[in-house]
Amino acid sequence: MLNSAFATMLQRELLLSVRKLSDSLHPLWFFILVVALFPLSLGPDSDQLRVLAPGLIWVIALLALMLSVDGLFRSDFIDGSLEQLLLGVQPLYFLTLAKLLAHCVVTGVPLIIVSPLLALFFGLPAEALPELILSLLLGVPTLIFIGAIGAALTVGFQRGGLLLSLLIMPMYLPVLIFGASAVQVATAGFAVTGQLSILAGLLCLAFGLAPLAVSAALRLHFYY
C-alpha cells in the first residue's frame, strides 16, 4: 500500500515534468547561460578561469537549483492537490520523498550530465572530472532536499523567490564549502575522500530529515 502510494507519486511527478518538458529544462539553460557570463565579465583569461572554475561551477549549480525548487510545491498548492495529499491517509513523508526524488531526476541529473561540458568551458583539468561529477552527485540531491524545506515554508506566497533564497542560502553553505573544496583539491591532484565522505554524510542527513521538515512546513499552510 505504502509502496504503491510512493510509486504513484513518483510516476505522477515524472509524468508531469515530461508533459512540461520545457519548464523542467529551465534550470539547465540557466546553468549554462550563467557560466557564459563569467568569461564575459572576468575576461577570457583561461588561467584565471581555471583557478575559479570549481567554485564557479558549484555556485552556479547552487543558484540554478535554488531557483528551481521555488516552484516545487506551488502549482500543487494552488490547484488544491496538495491539500488532498495532506488530507489523505498516506504518510506525507513518503509522498514528499517521492516528489523530491522526482525533482532530483528531472532537474539534478541534467545538471550533473552537462557539468563536464562546463568544466571544459572553464578549462578544468580532465583529471578532476570524476571528482566533480561525484561531488555533484552527492551534493545536488542535498541541495534539492534542503531547498525543498524553504520552498515548503514559502509556498503560500505569490513571489517567494527572494525570501526563499534568504532562508535557504545559509543552510547551503556547508554543502558548497565541501563540494567546491573537493573539486579544488582534486584539481591540485590530492585525494578527496574526506570531502566526499562529508558530502555523503550531509546527503544522508538531508535524506532522512528534510522530508519531515517539508511535511511539517506544508501542513502549517492549512492551519487556520
Binding site: T154, P170, M171, P174, L205, A213, A217, Y223
Partner: protein, 243 residues
C-alpha cells in the same frame, strides 16, 4: 517541578512573574557591566603585543558568546512551541530573534574594529568570521519569515521549523576555528583544561560574559513581555492592565 512548566503556558502568569524578575535582571546586568568594563578597560594590564587595542575583547567575546547561545534559546523555544504548542514559547522565539541578530552584529562589528589594528584589515574571509556572518543571516531569515506571514500562528510554526533546521549550522560555527585553522585564533577559553589567558585579563572577561548573559536575559524578558501584550491584546487582563 512540572507545575512550573505548565504555568508557563499562561502568558498572564508569565507577565506577572517576569515583572518581578525584571528589576533583578536589569540591576545585576548593569552592575556587572559597570564593574566588568571599569576593571577590563582601566585596571586590567596592557597586552604585551597588542597594547590597549586588545581591550575590545571585553565586548567582542561576550557578545559572540551570547549571539551563539541566543540561537539555542530561539531554537529550543521553537521546539517547545512545535511540540507542546505553547503560546509563550512562540513569543519567546519571536523575541529572541532581533536580540540575537543585534548581538551577532555587535560581535562582527567589534571584530572588524579589532581586526584593523591587529591584522591590518577590517575583514577577512576566515572560517569563524564567515560563520558568524551566516549566523547573522540565520537570524535575519527568521525575522523575515515571520513578517511574511499574516497569521501569527502560521508564522510561529514556520519560524520554529526554520530555527530547528538552522540548528544544524550551529555546531559548525562553534567548531569552525578548531577545524579550519586560519587568522582567527582558536578558542582560548575552555571549560575543561587550562585557559590560555592570564588571570588578570581572564577575570574581568568572565565578569563581562556574565554581564552580557544577564543583559541578554533582560532584553529577552522585556521583548517577550511586549510580545505577550501584543498577542494577548484582546484579552480582558491586558485591557484592564493598560486601562
Amino acid at each position: 517541578m512540572w507545575s512550573f512548566f505548565h504555568k508557563l503556558g499562561s502568558p498572564r502568569w508569565f507577565y506577572k512573574i517576569s515583572g518581578q524578575l525584571l528589576p533583578v535582571f536589569i540591576v545585576s546586568a548593569l552592575g556587572l557591566l559597570i564593574w566588568g568594563s571599569v576593571w577590563g578597560l582601566a585596571y586590567a594590564p596592557e597586552d604585551f603585543r597588542q597594547g590597549n587595542s586588545y581591550r575590545i575583547i571585553f565586548i567582542h567575546v561576550p557578545a559572540a558568546f551570547v549571539a551563539l547561545a541566543g540561537y539555542y534559546v530561539m531554537a529550543t523555544a521553537g521546539a517547545i512551541s512545535l511540540i507542546w504548542k505553547m503560546k509563550l514559547a512562540d513569543i519567546v522565539m519571536q523575541a529572541a530573534a532581533p536580540i540575537g541578530a543585534a548581538m551577532t552584529f555587535i560581535a562582527l562589528f567589534t571584530g572588524a574594529v579589532w581586526g584593523k589594528p591587529t591584522w591590518g584589515t577590517w575583514w577577512v574571509w576566515d572560517a569563524r568570521i564567515t560563520s558568524m556572518l551566516v549566523l547573522f543571516f540565520l537570524y535575519i531569515g527568521v525575522i523575515a519569515l515571520r513578517q511574511a506571514f499574516e497569521s501569527a500562528e502560521q508564522a510561529g510554526k514556520a519560524c520554529a521549523v526554520l530555527c530547528l533546521v538552522g540548528t544544524v549550522n550551529i555546531p559548525i560555527i562553534y567548531k569552525s576555528v578548531d577545524w579550519w585553522y586560519s587568522l582567527h585564533q582558536p578558542a582560548t577559553i575552555k571549560i575543561i583544561g587550562e585557559t590560555s589567558m592570564h588571570d588578570d585579563m581572564w577575570w574581568p572577561l568572565l565578569v563581562m560574559i556574565f554581564a552580557f548573559y544577564l543583559l541578554y536575559g533582560s532584553a529577552l524578558l522585556l521583548n517577550t513581555r511586549l510580545g505577550v501584550l501584543q498577542r494577548e491584546q484582546k484579552t480582558r487582563w491586558v485591557r484592564d492592565l493598560l486601562g
